[in-house]
Amino acid sequence: MALDEYKPQTGKAMLEGEGRSFKQVGTSPDRPDGVDKVTGRARFGADVTAPGMLHAAIVRSPHAHARILKIDTSAAEALDGVKAVVTRADFATGLTGEMWNILENVMADKTALYDGHAVAAVAATSALIARDAAKLVKVEYEVLPHVTDVDAAMATGAPVIREGAADASVPPGLHPNVVRYHESGRGDVEAGFAEADLVIEDHFRTEATHQGYIEPHACLAQMGGDGKGELWCCTQGHWNVQKICAALLGTEQSALRVTASEIGGGFGGKTTVFIEPVALALSRKTSRPVKLVMSRSEVFRATGPTASTSMDVKVGMKKDGTITAMQGTFRLQGGAFPGAPADMTAMCAFAPYNVANLKQVGYDVMSNRPKQAAYRAPGSPMAAFATESVIDELCNQLGLDPIEVRLKNASREGTRASYGPKFQRIGLVETLEAAKAHPHYSAPLKPGQGRGVSCGFWFNFGGETSVSLALSEDGSAQLMVGTPDIGGSRASMALMAAEELGIPYENVRVTIADTASLGYNEVSHGSRVTYASGLATIQAARDAVRKLCGRAAAKWGIPEDAVKWENGCAVPSGPNAGDFDPLPIAEITASMGATGGPIVGHFEATPEGAGVSFATHIVDAEVDPETGKTAVVRYTVVQDAGKAIHPTYVEGQFQGGAAQGIGWALNEEYIYGEDGRLQNAVFLDYRIPVASDLPMIDTVIVEVPNPGHPYGVRGVGETSICPPLAAIANAVSAAAGVRLHELPMSPPRILEALERQRGG
């Protein structure tokens, strides 16, 4: 495959997908796994068993920060039915870098670093016995001072989580808990602010939220003394699980075959491992299959929520709405390990705007909380909350229309992005125009209601991708992809394969291959699946089509390049046009054994042309001044999808992102007590939006093709959560008549803001 076939192209040349009329792409057929999922037949992480299976339970630290003095497992081991106990001593030694971080998070060594940190694990003949045994493991702790707030963790005198964790990016003089530093920008912000007619600077905070997938992490591990193993688990990326588990167990990657179960939501939270190496270690120790399933409170306490933030943003604007300078400082708390997306937060913060003078600074800060994990466009929603709130305030004070101001300053094709490169073709302006034209934007508001608008941006990713497409004798196709289907991606893949092959959608069976059956596939993250696996599917199908054409050429005795593929048939072309009847796919495949063997199309590459994506959201909110409760009364998502392969599932991504954003903006937060323990580790207290909290969520799909994909696809999964925090904050601030600076905007916070305003 020539590299330039999938590399982004520059210029305005007509794209391949543009103006093409698709036969199947762009329709919304029933998903291939629909019946499995509505009948209870689909098998998720916790839905499998194995003969002789044991059940495991994990012993977790009740302290936010404590030295582990002694672990006494004797009472647990003595319990009838207990087969093994593992501690850190049962894992590989000598790891460095991120693998060490992951191991340390999976099983504490000398220090428990957060409430819920794993310190030991038990395998027993039943789940009840395992849980009882876990309580019998006696751990002696020496409690250490802790810190869970980002600003407190950076302050002089804060307890040090781990000396020497900072990398070279961190300037001298900062607290050792600051472990990564990012600074970028251009122009001269001070000169830019001097040019402005109005400059506003404000401080914003967001609490950590959890991805809140309804399926807790679950796995079934089998490993023998020979170091060979099988692992079944719910994950967004099983090759990554294979790589990490092999390292943590000290075995070869190929010794471990990982199969991805159906996955009950991930949103970024299932891109790493938490329990899989533990189950494998217990299985290795007992030579029996071990099933390990997290409880909901374990999910909250010990998997990766988002980072919490403390941010300062300053924007200068002229009277006509021109932005003259933007500056931001973003402090992110990412738990007891490096990795909070301070850099991405800083890079996303001003991406929608074409501004000459910019400065963005990010701090990645450690604290005594669980290691953060990705959550849909990590960092971008928080950055947008701060930036878009300040822009909204500037519009209010200068009496300008928020969409006009955004249009005036919007990034376009050729604009140098705030984070460096030049934008290729992008659709921000188109989303703003569509939002402006939407009836929602001009609909009258009722008393007590406010309207908010925000833009949002996400990079999107490509990543290593491998796809294989095998044709059956009857001309149907079996597509193997390596990216777990989280939200209907089998349907999109089948559509693209069917489109290329010219066969019915129903004739494509899509399987998520295990790690032993396909080349490496990067995790399903970065909104990459429809883009990268889709691109690979198209190319694999084209590879198969070339082979099909070759068989027809041989049969007809004409050159291969004199055969083209149309409507599922090989057709002679050029000087041979009309010489032979079209040869349907099923006729070619029926005899493929005798004409050269099985026909399989492949594609393996690391596509790099994932087009960035923008969205504009409009929200109407109503605030009850008596109770402080906010109701979202109307919501419209406008987003650029490049090309919507399965429009109904694209809408679903838009709606899901908006709903999660509503929860983040209004309700959801990690609440830590003075003792450093998480106080709301159940769904009753960590309240995600329920059906009666939400309105219908209107969607507009904008299609500005991505030059880096044959059909123009841009990933859509993440951008949808970037604007809501700000859009809702702007609506709530308008409704309440007072600017809200802190998320979630829970009733007590709104009452407090109203109170302050009355008092002041």
């Binding site: 998720f44 991805q211 809408e651 329920v690 219908m696």
Partner: protein
């Protein structure tokens, strides 16, 4: 510890099992009867992924003890379709893309079936409040609500 012997009916089939006094109905369905359609999202009655009916009443099976199933009639998502023929709700959920990951789907289907049996003509608000105990993190509920309303309309027309 000695186990409790329970005789019950699940999706119309007579069933017997032994369970620990602490095991929930959800544990029994999933681990002893191999009916893994009902899911455990929380184990505390907050997510509805484990929804089943007990003598026709909608319950969170994680809040019912296995031993309490004695002599009762239990219905789970596995019993919703009639052989090959999907229940209209199941059909409509697929058609409307009312599921993304699908982990909440069994519980939501069982819950909405129970709703439509009681109230064949619910308003949007009634559907939303009825489903307030069934969490879905993927969809934002929009397509779920539409699928339920449309199924209700179809079923009214058919009856």
């Amino acid at each position: 510890m000695s186990k409790i012997h329970v005789t019950t009916t699940v999706n119309g089939d007579a069933v017997e099992f032994l369970c620990d006094a602490r095991e929930t109905l959800l544990d029994v369905l999933r681990d002893r009867l191999n009916l893994t359609g009902a899911k455990e999202g929380c184990g505390t009655g907050d997510c509805g992924a484990c929804s089943v009916t007990l003598d026709g009443r909608l319950v969170c099976s994680c809040l019912v003890l296995g031993a309490e199933a004695e002599g009762r009639e239990i219905a789970t998502v596995e019993g919703m379709a009639n052989g090959e023929e999907l229940h209209p709700l199941q059909q409509k959920f697929i058609e409307y893309a009312a599921l993304q990951c699908g982990i909440c789907t069994p519980g939501i289907l069982v819950a909405t079936k129970a709703l439509l049996e009681r109230n064949p003509d619910p308003t949007e608000t009634e559907v939303r409040y009825w489903l307030a105990g069934n969490l879905c993190r993927c969809t934002g509920y929009d397509k779920i609500i539409r699928a339920v309303m449309d199924t209700a309309a179809d079923m009214r027309e058919a009856s």
